[in-house]
Symmetry: C2
Subunit: 219 residues, 2 copies
Amino acid sequence: MIHVKVLIVGANGQIGKDLTSYIQASDQLEARAMIRKKEQAPFFEDLGAETALVDLEQDIDTIAEAASGTDAVVFTAGSGPKTGKDKTLMIDLDGAVKTIEAAKKVGVKRFIMISSFDTTREAILEANESFAPYVVAKYYADVWLRESDLDYTIIHPGLLTNNQGTGKVQAAKQVDRDEIPREDVARVILASLENDSTIGKEFQIVSGDTPVYQAIKSL
Amino acid sequence: MIHVKVLIVGANGQIGKDLTSYIQASDQLEARAMIRKKEQAPFFEDLGAETALVDLEQDIDTIAEAASGTDAVVFTAGSGPKTGKDKTLMIDLDGAVKTIEAAKKVGVKRFIMISSFDTTREAILEANESFAPYVVAKYYADVWLRESDLDYTIIHPGLLTNNQGTGKVQAAKQVDRDEIPREDVARVILASLENDSTIGKEFQIVSGDTPVYQAIKSL
């Protein structure tokens, strides 16, 4: 049995927690949850997952240490809408780029980025004043990853909800903007980790009618 | 007589105003001041400079139009400490990158960036929480310019003051952190525009004992 160890950056978010559960329930994958606070650890320990205590505002070497010995990195950290725009710069942009550099440093080739639904120049122009800085941050993180030599997948989810997942999505280079439960995003990440055909690809996902694995395989 | 036309992005700041004056007083250079508001124009018109009305939050094409027909671009725009960190992302980072892309688009090869004193990874880690996002923004703008194929010069000035300039500076790859009047920064930009030996170089500047032209030529 092949064991692939996955560092989940931003593990304590809802997508990260769901993803850890799915990974720990799978036969071939194991999770290492990167978390910021010690009191966040029990949730992951109860699932039998490793934890690494790192703040994304620390340096590349510290993140690299957390990535060392893993086979894939999933970046699903976000500063969230409640923090200031300074954290958008420090976490959503610079935290992502430092994680990419950390993966390169320790030779972890596989990298899955949870981006924003649309990170094109057009999307930046169309975003309102409050949302635009977030899109800019995700834009630069995506560019940095595309220009790295990592085996990347960039996932662009629609409007995230906490609704129960259906396990069914619509996935394509471009889909109509719609909602998607965080649980289903976690399922798409799992399917991407398990399907190397997603390497070098990026796609948008929203709720839909196609079972996740089928949607991912047909990309 | 060779006339070199220079687009000054952020012309209405103090460095931009001083630079426009110096350029208009020189024999070989002419300024086109890129400004955000119509009421800022008279200052530049009085100096005989052209103006271009563009907001850095507009798209690359609009900035490219302002750069069209010029021979060099100087980026000295800054969102300033009074605006929120959202503007740090939109202006100091994305405004700079869009200006670089605009220059490339219309084939203007010469680009002078006014950066921050230290935009290394170490400087980001050492900066306090309030200053770090600004350093991050300037870091990415500098990286973008270095990786472009433009004939760039990146100037890293020390702590900017509104003191009268002395025309004397210390310039080198690394100097001790110190103050420098905005007027002297403008003089260094002028000297850089006039000395192609600064192409592909970046250096820190603070007040010192060496006349600007001598300091620039000895880099």
